[in-house]
């Protein structure tokens, strides 16, 4: 039994410690946000946050997560009560197939928690490890920009008050 801290709650999981966090999130905890895109850490569809950093969950064995806090897109809000970053994606209609989007949101969340006033160039560079195949990049950048402008300070402040 391994106990993980997922979105602020303890979650007990009965899985081999070498199981990537991605499969545990999806199959055991029914958290669908993080997606399987490559299993090789090359595309970012599986991006979640661990210990405040954006991490490829396909390469994060649960046995090594230990006490670090795991944050997934489900922890930012719900379809009916989205968080500020999610709302920004909805407002910009920043999705075509949408498969990469949960990963994009977590990658952006990691940036805004650390830097609530990123420049456009910083956002672009920060998002580079995440791939989008449909060509939605410009909308994604606009959504992150919108979230930063509207709520960047709030996002960074909230991350400091919540558990590390």
């Amino acid at each position: 039994m391994i106990t993980l801290n997922i979105n602020g709650r303890a979650a007990a999981v009965d899985a081999d410690p070498t199981t990537p966090l991605l499969y545990v999130l999806r199959d055991d905890l029914k958290l669908n946000g993080a997606k399987f895109g490559c299993g090789l850490g090359q595309c970012g569809a599986c991006t979640v946050m661990v210990g405040g950093q954006a991490v490829m969950s396909c390469l994060m064995p649960i046995g090594l997560v230990e006490q670090r806090a795991v944050k997934t897109v489900e922890g930012l809000g719900t379809p009916t009560a989205p968080g500020p970053l999610q709302q920004a994606f909805i407002d910009e209609q920043a999705a075509q197939c949408g498969y990469c989007i949960a990963g994009m949101i977590m990658r952006a969340q990691a940036l805004l928690e650390r830097n609530p006033h990123p420049s456009d160039a910083e956002i672009r560079r920060h998002m580079a490890p995440n791939l989008c195949r449909c060509g939605t990049h410009l909308r994604i950048l606009r959504a992150v920009r919108r979230a930063a402008d509207r709520s960047g300070v709030a996002i960074a402040a909230e991350s400091r008050t919540s558990a590390p």
């Binding site: 070498t18 490829m56 390469l59 064995p61 090594l64």
Partner: protein, 421 residues
């Protein structure tokens, strides 16, 4: 003393017209600039090519690469060919001021007149970019450039380029290129306290930008011998099957060599191959042992037996390997584009110094922007310092079968600090 140190300003010229340079000469210069890897120190990530601005950390402080574009005010637009030659051979700018030897003029000094002429043609026909390099920040009193005259006296070796009539023309070409523009020993040799190259320990290994740079001579840590073909592949593409994938500063070298004449790259490989030396019984033993280790199959025999309860470095390291690395480096090796390195054969785990391997794990390896290549993701966010240390302990023992690195935990911490800067 001033009389010894002082060098005159050379008269500025009007920036020469592009058309005054022969196209073939420019092309030759482009190839040679690839060998010299000028771009590494003179082109920032987002900046114009050769426009300078790269911050180079030295033990003495930070020096910035200057603008080599033919901009008349901020670049070398007003430099005559003579001024360029003097900079390359003597480490003296057109103005007469001394250049910091992080600029490897101690090597470039050996370049032939023809090669310098071609380089000049190439640089003077680049797109002029107006850009001032940021001010250097050096420990007092090293900011006082005339002191560099003393350094030059000690370290500037005007010996003619090496030539050995017993060896082939190709070998000699490689020796010349390596000693001059290639300046390989700048990174692949240790340095003295004054920052000069320790010539008695040439190619014994060194460091660059926080990475450990392996020895290229008999002390090479590589478990397997390198053929000329493998060296040529590595230098041209950054990939040598079952040996290494270029990471860190070597990626820039490979990018430069991609522009060099293929015959020159092969010549360098021939020369370096000879520097590496012939197999000895000891080396053969080591090679056999490494191959045996590789052929045994997955480094962690049975991943299911690895539990998160074992906090010893080896136990934890095995767990890290099984969970984060094995899917590419063992089990999936053949499936992705070319496959990940078999670690018992990888040079980095055999290095006497763990710094390169640490950086590879923290940062991953990315092909150059937009080019196809091998892509290893960064693990710096996934793994804690303790986990990285454990992983390397495990790899050192299980993959390399070599004595543990001393002060590994401190080296991991220090690399992490460098990354965050």
């Amino acid at each position: 003393m001033l009389a010894l140190t002082w060098r005159p300003q050379l008269a500025p010229i009007d920036p020469p017209a592009r058309s005054s340079f022969d196209a073939a000469l420019i092309r030759r210069g482009e190839q040679l600039a690839g060998v010299g890897n000028c771009a590494a120190c003179h082109t920032t990530r987002d900046g114009g090519p050769y426009a300078g601005g790269v911050a180079l950390a030295t033990p003495f402080g930070t020096v910035h690469g200057t603008n080599l574009t033919p901009d008349p005010d901020t670049g070398i637009g007003r430099w005559s060919e003579a001024a360029f030659r003097r900079a390359m051979r003597d480490g003296v700018a057109r103005s007469g001021s001394r250049l910091y030897p992080v600029f490897p003029f101690d090597h470039y000094a050996r370049a032939s007149d023809d090669d310098l002429q071609a380089l000049y043609a190439f640089l003077m026909t680049r797109e002029p970019v107006r850009a001032e390099a940021p001010a250097n920040r050096l420990m007092f009193p090293l900011g006082f450039r005339p002191l560099l005259a003393g350094w030059s006296l000690l370290y500037l070796d005007r010996a003619p380029p090496p030539h050995d009539t017993r060896m082939s023309a190709e070998w000699n070409r490689g020796a010349y290129l390596t000693a001059s523009l290639g300046h390989c020993s700048s990174c692949h040799s240790p340095r003295t306290a004054l920052g000069g190259e320790d010539r008695r320990r040439r190619f014994d290994g060194g460091e660059a930008e926080g990475w450990y740079v392996p020895a290229l001579n008999a002390k090479s840590p590589s478990p397997l011998p390198w053929s000329v073909e493998q060296l040529t592949d590595y230098l041209s593409s950054g990939i040598a099957r079952d040996h290494a994938i270029a990471g860190g500063p070597m990626q820039g070298v490979v990018a430069g060599l991609a522009r060099a004449a293929p015959a020159d790259v092969r010549a360098i490989a021939v020369y370096i191959g000879s520097v590496m030396g012939d197999p000895t019984p000891q080396r053969d033993e080591r090679a056999k042992a490494s191959v045996a280790r590789a052929e045994r199959g997955p480094l962690v025999a049975n991943a299911s037996t690895v539990t998160s309860g074992d906090r010893s470095p080896l136990g934890l390291g095995a767990a890290v390997y099984a969970g984060a690395c094995a899917s590419c480096h063992d089990l999936g090796r053949r499936l992705s584009s070319g496959g990940a390195l078999q670690l018992p054969l990888a040079v980095a785990v055999h290095d006497p110094d763990p710094r390169s391997l640490i950086r590879i794990v923290l940062r991953g390896i990315e092909p150059l922007d937009g080019e196809p290549g091998r892509l290893m993701p960064a693990f710096g966010a996934q793994l804690t310092d303790e986990q990285v240390t454990a992983l390397l302990t495990f790899l050192r023992q299980t993959a390399a079968g070599a004595p543990p690195w001393p002060d590994l935990a401190a080296a991991v911490r220090s690399a992490r600090e460098d990354e965050s800067r």
